[in-house]
């Protein structure tokens, strides 16, 4: 699939660490405003793919294009939200967003985003005073600070309890729609992927496998479960 509105394109993308090939000739496009989830077992290459798109690593072979331009170095249009919040413990919540910038616009944007993630009252708290879910909300707000075109979510809800996880799924969904972001989600949780994304892609042994439509914004639980089961069966099949 190739399209002029593709934000991310990978053409025959490969990634090797020495002799070990993590990604094998991967091809895909992601369109502007699309929410794509990559699922699969650990070690399948999901996080590596995200790191390539973030520009934290480079492809061993093939090409990775960002808005039609070959990506070299850090992807400045993208922001990553990691599984561990990676907040700076010595900065307050507000300063974690602005990196202690005194710029009034940055401060205003940080407060606006804290409001968006329902943490306006916690601006002066330090990360160590927050719960896991609150920390991830701060991390989400920080990822949005520079108004990125592409939001990369690297298993951001993996360490949260079930209830907090559900709330965060809703919050991320709302924020992504409100900010009209192109989003890539890496997750182990197939139901989470089907619920949140427009498109779910399975990565298995370094290859892109099954691709199904997600149920982003849908309330049809049964349909979601059916799709998730199909994806689950594909992942577990030898």
């Amino acid at each position: 699939m190739s399209n002029n509105t593709a934000v991310v394109q990978i053409q025959n993308g490969e990634k090797r660490y020495g002799e070990h090939q993590v990604l094998k000739s991967v091809n895909f496009d992601i369109q502007a405003g699309e929410f794509v989830a990559f699922v699969g077992e650990s070690g399948g290459g999901k996080s590596t793919l995200l790191r390539l798109i973030a520009g934290l690593e480079s492809v061993s072979a093939g090409q990775l294009l960002m808005n039609g331009q070959a990506l070299t170095g850090l992807n400045k249009s993208a922001r990553v939200m990691f599984q561990d919040d990676r907040l700076l413990p010595w900065l307050t919540v507000l300063d974690n967003l602005s990196f202690k910038s005194r710029n009034k616009d940055a401060q205003a944007r940080a407060r606006e985003l804290l409001n968006l993630v329902q943490l306006a009252d916690y601006a002066d708290y330090f990360p160590g005073q927050l719960s896991g879910g609150q920390k991830q909300r701060v991390a989400l707000a920080r990822a949005l600070m520079s108004s990125p075109k592409l939001l990369l979510l690297d298993e951001p809800l993996g360490a949260l309890d079930a209830l907090t996880r559900l709330r965060m799924q809703e919050l991320i969904g709302d924020v992504v729609s409100q900010e009209n972001l192109t989003t890539i989600l890496i997750t182990h949780d197939v139901r989470e992927a089907v619920k949140m994304a427009d498109r779910v892609v399975v990565i298995k042994h370094g290859n892109l496998g099954l691709e199904v439509s997600g149920h982003r914004g849908s309330d049809d639980e049964m349909a979601m479960i059916q799709v998730a089961d199909v994806v689950q069966d594909f992942i577990l099949a030898d």
Partner: protein, 270 residues
Amino acid sequence: MNNSDKRGDVFSKQSLERFLPWLIPVGLIIIWQLAVDANWVDGTYVPSPLAVVDKGVSLWQAGTLQENMGISLYRATMGLIIGGLIGFVLGVANGLSKTSRALFNSTIQMVRNIPHLALIPLIIIWIGINESAKISLVAIGVMFPIYINTFHGIRSIDPNLIEMGRSYGLSKWQMFTKIVLPGAMPTILMGFRYALGVMWTTLIVSETISSSSGIGYMETNAQQFLDMPTIFLAILIYAILGKVSDWIAQLFEMLLLEWQRAEGGKANVK
């Protein structure tokens, strides 16, 4: 239990917490005074606390005490600034740069194992017994704890935070000021606190061995005249200066590590 009882309990607990650290020192001074007054110990060799205070007042009135304290403080501060800066800069350089680490670290690790007080004869021969000699000795003493702690503080920064900074487009300077330095600060301050102890020990030894001024000199000089109150006064002054140094270190920790205290303080309410 009503509110006023609870407030009373909190108040008495706080008072007790404030009082407890003073209990042993004050108790020892009282016992010391009683022991001398009751002739349980020979006042010639162990002067009473009041005799020591009297001596302090008379030396202060003569101007000797403040002069010697001033020069000792000057030597300690200069040594700390020079040695601390060198240790900090080397720690930062070796913590951040592979080349610098390869070039300097193993040599520094080798040299730091030499007890710096063993250098006193060498420094007296090379530099003499002037101010530079004593300041150099203090500087060498404080340099290593600050170097080691700065170096390890920087080397042990969570690589995930570095990666986060990189992925968020922070410049090298921003990475240093927003991530590396604050992350290493708790370890650096531990080194600073330790260095303050080394600073006083080194100063005492250097002033006792080779000096014509300072608290250490005052003490050595008093020894020749069996002036016990002055000897005890000098020891007491060192103890007070050590405590003041500790307060200064705590003040730095309060200012620079506010986040660590806050984590143990404000409760998460939502």
